[in-house]
């Protein structure tokens, strides 16, 4: 994507997004609801067309020319309610360019077995639970072994067991060499799965980096710990070499480190010098990163958290 812009009436949905995805990567599109993730994905899929900017998908000018090489699970997804599960999947396979017949039927059945839904293959889609339908929809977008997999909020509505199953399947697809883009407004999901993060806020890309680099860049240089003796004297913590500050939160304390301090040394000193039940090197979450970015735009933390939890809608 090169300087892609899309407006709906007076509302700017996507503003000048540049993005390049290497083959075989697993990219997470994160951002609050209404940030522009779905619009960006629809533009990549050529379901929407940008007002300006350029686009290249799998070496073609638009996804229309390579639809059969893309698997897409939209955010607004559904099934043909009256269709039987296997017929629906075979229909989708045919639309994705697969030939009908025994091989397609076998692929469908293999997939249904993998997601433990083989016994519902002859049921009508409307008879399935929402979670089951979601798994069927996932199968419909990987049946044809696409080169690029685009999943828009794939985990919404899933229970933890199915969420893990889907996460494993996505990882497996990526390990098989497929490029995966998935969007979520739950940043923790992106942390668990992605090796590269693109953060979108109010239609603009505000972050585009690997997870490791992001964590390094936004490293708070702090050690989180909980005291075994309840309330701690602030001065005692500050007396530990390498500690420049201390903050208290609902889970315990955070000791901020000096510029040159070695995290491991400080951690050892805390464990040996204080009576603690838990001590760990604090890593920045994507939520922290997001809050840090929007605070840089003038929002205070509370407003930033509100934006993150969906307070701002487009």
């Amino acid at each position: 994507m090169n300087k892609v812009r899309k407006t709906f009436g007076t509302k700017v949905a996507v503003e000048g997004i540049d993005l390049e995805l290497p083959v075989g990567s697993l990219y997470g599109f994160i951002g609050p609801n209404g940030a522009g993730k779905t619009t960006s994905i629809r533009i990549i899929m050529s379901i929407l067309f940008p007002d300006s900017g350029e686009l290249e998908v799998l070496g073609k000018k638009s996804a229309v020319e390579s639809k059969d090489r893309i698997g897409y699970l939209p955010e607004e997804r559904g099934v043909y309610r009256k269709m039987r599960v296997h017929s629906f999947l075979e229909h989708m396979g045919r639309l994705k360019g697969l030939d009908s017949g025994a091989p397609l039927r076998k692929t469908v059945m293999d997939w249904l077995e993998r997601v433990e839904l083989a016994d519902v293959s002859k049921k009508k889609c409307e008879e399935l639970s929402k979670g089951m339908q979601q798994k069927i929809q996932f199968i419909s977008c990987v049946l044809h072994e696409p080169d690029l997999l685009i999943l828009d909020e794939p985990f919404s509505g899933l229970d933890p067991v199915n969420m893990r199953l889907l996460r494993d399947l996505i990882r497996e697809q990526n390990e098989a060499g497929r490029t995966v883009i998935f969007s979520t407004h739950v940043m923790q999901q992106a942390e668990e799965l992605c090796d590269h993060i693109v953060m979108i806020h109010e239609g603009r890309k505000v972050l585009d980096n690997t997870l490791g680099e992001i964590q390094d860049r936004y490293d708070p240089r702090a050690i989180a710990f909980a005291s075994a003796n309840g309330e701690l004297d602030r001065e005692t913590v500050l007396a530990i070499p390498g500690v420049s500050g201390v903050a208290q939160n609902e889970r315990g304390y955070e000791a901020l480190m000096d510029e040159g301090a070695q995290p491991l040394d400080v951690l050892r000193s805390i464990v040996s010098g204080l009576s603690v039940t838990r001590a760990e090197l604090r890593r920045p979450t994507l939520e922290d990163v997001f809050i840090s970015i929007v605070r840089g735009e003038g929002l205070d933390e509370e407003d930033a958290r509100q934006v993150l939890s969906g307070g701002a809608q487009s």
Partner: protein
Amino acid sequence: MKKVLQVAKREFVSTALTKGFIVGALILPAAFALVMPLIGFLFDQAKAPAEVGRVAIIDRTGQLDTLLSERLLPEALAEARRGSLDDLQKTAESGATEGEGQPDLGQVAQVADTLLGETPKFTVNILDVETDLKSAQDRLREEPEQKDERTLALVDLDADAVVRPEGQADFGSYTLYTRPKVDPRTTNTIERTVERAIKDVRYELAGMDRDELRRLTSVGQRDVQEVTETGTRESNQILQFVLPGAVLVLLFMGVMTGGQYLLTTTVEEKSSRVVEVLLSAVSPMELMFGKIVGQMFVGMCLLLVYTGVGIFAMLWFALADLIDWTDLVYMFIFFLIAYTIIASLMAAIGAAVNEMREAQSLMAPVMMALVFAFYLSFPAMMSPSAPWAVAMSFIPPFSPFTMLIRIASTEPPPLWQIWVSIAIGVVTAYACVWFAAKVFRVGLLMFGKPPNFRTLVKWVRMA
């Protein structure tokens, strides 16, 4: 193309191979066709039972009492019916074409029995002319235990019914009073008998021969013969109007069914949110064309079934020479034009709205145009060359219907008019598909407030 056909296949299968469609569109009419002969059979069995009771007569002429007493007796009534049948037979014999079988009197008598019911069993009760009319009428309300003792009717004959008073142009008549809910066929028998008796006495008094008069005033009816290239044939004027009408109904039904289903399935795809999944595999154009083609096959399936049944029926009744195969080809062409126009608009409406309820207001003008086109074509059957009919046969969506009627009419239009009409139809269909494609592309992913016509135009500009 493969994807278009796959979408079309799903569309056809999910519509035409459902119980609802098979029962509604195919089995119900088939069942109706089966029930029709059954109704005929039951009607045959349903002869009215012989009506039993008295007929009271106040004869103010003084010349009809004896005659009516005789003629209203069961034997006389049966004799009169046979006499009428004899007359029918004679008329038929005089009118029959050479080489054709003579009508069977037995069959005709059977039909007459069915239509008129069994011969009533009347007893005649002549009342004195001084009888009070009110008390005579009261007898009609009495309910005696014995059925044959009840009075069914009272005939009050005017004094001048058979003799014209001096200086008057017209004769008098009679009044018939009946019990409530008397079988109309019984009333009819009494009326005919009384009228005939009055006429016969009038003829006699005027010195005329009744039979001779009847012969003089009747002309044998012969069938109209059409002279065709292969010889003469009996003209079936009723079928000449029924067939184009049937073709119109078929065309309307095919277009309406396909269009309606297209709207429903599009709205369903949108409301069930399966549409974006589809758009990841096919372009909006492929989806729309696939759907239009799929439902076109549904409409054609109906058309073929009904046309097939019609042709079979005509072959069965040896009316094959009335089938004009060119008309059927034109029906097919005009179906494609009318269907494409309506279906593309329906697809656009389906894509624009979120649920069926919202589709009503946008659908109304399209449906009205279709219904108008259908009904306004019927008058064209009677005057196929009237300027308005000619004009309508060039303006879609009226043209497919009106032109088809003109082609099937007694005054077919010149060939160039047919092809100009087809060309205009094709161009209009193309324009509708173009418009629909734009609305379809934008509308499919638009949710929220249902659009009005102005919004649709905006979408067309946007796309």
